[in-house]
Symmetry: C2
Subunit: 158 residues, 2 copies
């Protein structure tokens, strides 16, 4: 392994660890449990799973590793707060969560080490030239941190 | 900047962002606010600040970037759950939080890019040879993720 590979493999491991911990909460929660709020009046488990699925689905596009499949989630789970209603069936939510993250993680593992340091698709060539830290690996780290942020909240329902 | 620098600088930025967000919560919270639980019966803000301060204080030793100063925090904030009592005064807790993180971040910024890929002090030479992903940068990423996990919880009190 090269130096860059030592870094990118460690970053992918950190990502997989967060997904795995969320998988465990999803598996341990009944459909009724998904209605639990992480604190009184705050987001339901159901909403946070949908939110993370939608944000991760967008990563295909931002990282250029495939096509996103569930753009219809954005309105419910990104652009609006928790409606406290079942927008889609819990079974479907679980299926989407699993589909997005299994395909995404597989795609991340196919990215060449050096390609992680190239610009992501939300930054222009010009802006990337000004700030070379806006690379794909920064996106992965930011999404790993974002997943951990919500995982900490989800853990409160367990 | 070299490729490794593009990675290590981005990782340090992610770290600083979490610390800054926690700093904002600490600054926005009165001493009485610190007694708030993140969810009913769960950890107080006070405890999570002490917990993160203790874990970050340990990073000096693990990363080999200086001496830790507050080993006495471990019993209260790592080895035991939230006692719901004021172990140390809120003013002192705030001072420690600020002292640990400002000195630690300054020390992290002094680490040479290539040195981030060398082993940390909780792994032996032999184990590091078997798993070269157990480098210092992995520790920084793990602690950044850990801070984000608790930040997500702390945010619920705001």
């Amino acid at each position: 392994m090269t130096g860059i590979e030592h870094v990118t493999n460690a970053a992918i491991n950190a990502w997989k660890q967060q997904i795995s911990r969320i998988d465990q909460i999803v598996a341990a929660s009944s459909d009724a449990d998904l209605e639990r709020e992480v604190a009184p009046g705050r987001n339901r488990l159901y909403y946070l799973i949908g939110h993370l699925a939608a944000v991760h689905d967008r990563m295909f596009t931002v990282l250029g590793v495939g096509e996103r499949r569930y753009a219809e989630l954005d309105a419910t789970f990104i652009e609006n707060p928790d409606s406290k209603t079942p927008a889609i069936a819990a079974t479907e939510l679980r299926r989407i969560w699993s589909d997005v993250n299994s395909r995404l993680t597989a795609a991340l593992e196919q990215v060449e080490p050096e390609a992680w340091l190239t610009r992501h698709n939300s930054v222009s060539d010009e802006d990337f030239a000004k700030n070379p830290l806006r690379h794909r690996l920064s996106v992965l780290t930011a999404r790993t941190v974002h997943a951990a942020f919500h995982l900490g909240q989800m853990q409160l329902t367990q």
